[in-house]
Every structure is written in structure tokens, then in C-alpha cells.
């Protein structure tokens, strides 16, 4: 909290979007992590965004990634008896991650992040101009 809450608002959004970017990166990296146990398979992660009041004004809401949820999608069962991780019946389990949906999420998060950087920079410029008044 500060006298210039606009920086806190934009900063909180950048933080939340970077959490989202990290979860996408983690999901993409683990898209092919198979396992022999359906309960031990990597589960796609997704952040949950909620508003968070910044400063004294209740109308001024920042954003916070309050939790990261695991996807409840069932793992994909593949018959690969030659796989070293295959279970007794010759099956391996892969997480149900849609790379296209993840890429869309990645682009959306990255654009939102950029928009907030834009806000931050322009707020910084106006604040500096105000501070330099009369010089």
C-alpha cells in the first residue's frame, strides 16, 4: 500500500499473470510425463484469480492468484507394453493436457501482462511529470 495505489494494482496483476504463465509452462513441460500409476500422473494446474482490495478505497481492486487448482481430468490410458514405466497390464498413463488450449492461455496471459506493464509505465510517466511540476 502506498500513496500511489495504481502501482500496487498494476503490480498485483503482473504478479498474478506471471503465476498463470508459470502454470502454463509447467503444464506444457509435463504434457508428456507418463506414469505407470494413474494416481501419480501429473495434473494440469490452473490458477484462480480473485480481486483484492488495494489501499483504502474499496472500489480499487487489485488481483491475486489465490490458489492453484489441479485439473480433475482423467489421465489418458495408453497401451505400451514395451514402456519401462508400464504397469502390470502394459498400460502407461499420460496427463490430459491440450497443448493448443495451453498456448491460447499462454498468449492471453502474456498479453494481459504486457497491458499491465503498459499501465505501469504510463502511470510512472505521469507521476514523474507531476513530481517535476514547477521545475
Amino acid at each position: 500500500m502506498s500513496n500511489l495505489p495504481i502501482f500496487d494494482v498494476a503490480g498485483s496483476a503482473m504478479n498474478a499473470q506471471s503465476v498463470r504463465l508459470s502454470t502454463v509452462a509447467s503444464n506444457m513441460a509435463n504434457a508428456d510425463s507418463v506414469s505407470g500409476d494413474p494416481n501419480a500422473v501429473y495434473r494440469a494446474k490452473q490458477p484462480v484469480f480473485t480481486t483484492e482490495q488495494v489501499g483504502a478505497n474499496p472500489a480499487l481492486q487489485g488481483v491475486r492468484a489465490t490458489q492453484v487448482l489441479d485439473s480433475q481430468a482423467q489421465p489418458i490410458k495408453r497401451y505400451e507394453p514395451g514402456h519401462p514405466l508400464a504397469d502390470g497390464n502394459g498400460y502407461v498413463y499420460a496427463p490430459d493436457i491440450d497443448p493448443v488450449a495451453q498456448m491460447v492461455d499462454l498468449i492471453s496471459a502474456s498479453r494481459s501482462y504486457q497491458a499491465n506493464v503498459e499501465v505501469f509505465n504510463s502511470a510512472k510517466e505521469t507521476a514523474l511529470a507531476t513530481l517535476n511540476m514547477g521545475r
Binding site: A10, R111, T126, A129, G134
Partner: protein, 123 residues
């Protein structure tokens, strides 16, 4: 001396409040159930000026009361599945415009300050 800056000092403060709200909208562009907010600049400015003229109210509290009363939730241009009413592009454009308006108000204030400085130093 209090009204040395005239309308521009108050306008600058109200514009700052609006900038903050628009920044919050952009920040919450992906937050479910968030409703886009805005400030009725005309209404807030008139109310703040009237309050300052009317009584011994502090300038700061007059402005904050006026801006709180002038809040409104902007209706969404199109429905979204998660109940969020922020339109990213519109919000960015509004922020750019509000930022420019702030700079305009700032330059008026600055001109006043410069004029006063010239008068004080007499150069």
C-alpha cells in the same frame, strides 16, 4: 490561496482517481465475476467543486466523497462466460485517453505554478 489553482487542481485529483479505476479494470481483465468500474468525471468534478464552495470541508475529503459518489459499474459490451465485464481493448483505449487528459490538467496546473513562480521571483 486555496482556489489559486482554480478548477484545475480539483480536476487533476479527480482525473487521478479515474486513472486508478481504469488501471484496476485492466488488472482484473481476467478475474472471474469482476465488474468494470468507471467514474462519472463531470459529476464528480461538479460535486467536488460544489462541496468546496459550500463549506469548511477539507479539499481532500470533498474530492474523495465526490469521486466515491460518482462511481458506477460500466455495462459490458458483450456477455462473457465468467461474469467479467472488462473489455481489454476498450479499457486500454480509455486508459490512454484518461492519461492524456491527466497530462492536460497537469499542464494547466503547471502553467499556474510557473506564473506564480515568475511573480514571486520577479524575473
Amino acid at each position: 490561496m486555496a482556489d489559486f489553482l482554480g478548477i484545475h487542481g480539483t480536476a487533476l485529483a479527480v482525473r487521478e482517481q479515474r486513472l486508478q479505476l481504469l488501471a484496476a479494470n485492466i488488472a482484473n481483465a481476467d478475474t472471474p465475476h469482476y465488474k468494470a468500474q468507471d467514474l462519472d468525471f463531470n459529476g464528480a468534478l461538479n460535486a467536488a467543486l460544489a462541496a468546496q464552495r459550500g463549506g469548511p470541508l477539507e479539499q481532500g475529503s470533498a474530492i474523495s466523497t465526490a469521486t466515491t459518489n460518482a462511481h458506477f459499474l460500466r455495462p459490458s459490451s458483450q456477455p462473457s462466460l465468467d461474469g467479467n465485464t472488462v473489455d481489454g481493448d476498450r479499457e486500454n483505449a480509455a486508459f490512454a485517453q484518461a492519461s492524456l487528459e491527466y497530462r492536460a490538467s497537469l499542464s494547466f496546473v503547471e502553467a499556474k505554478v510557473r506564473g506564480m513562480l515568475t511573480a514571486i521571483t520577479g524575473q
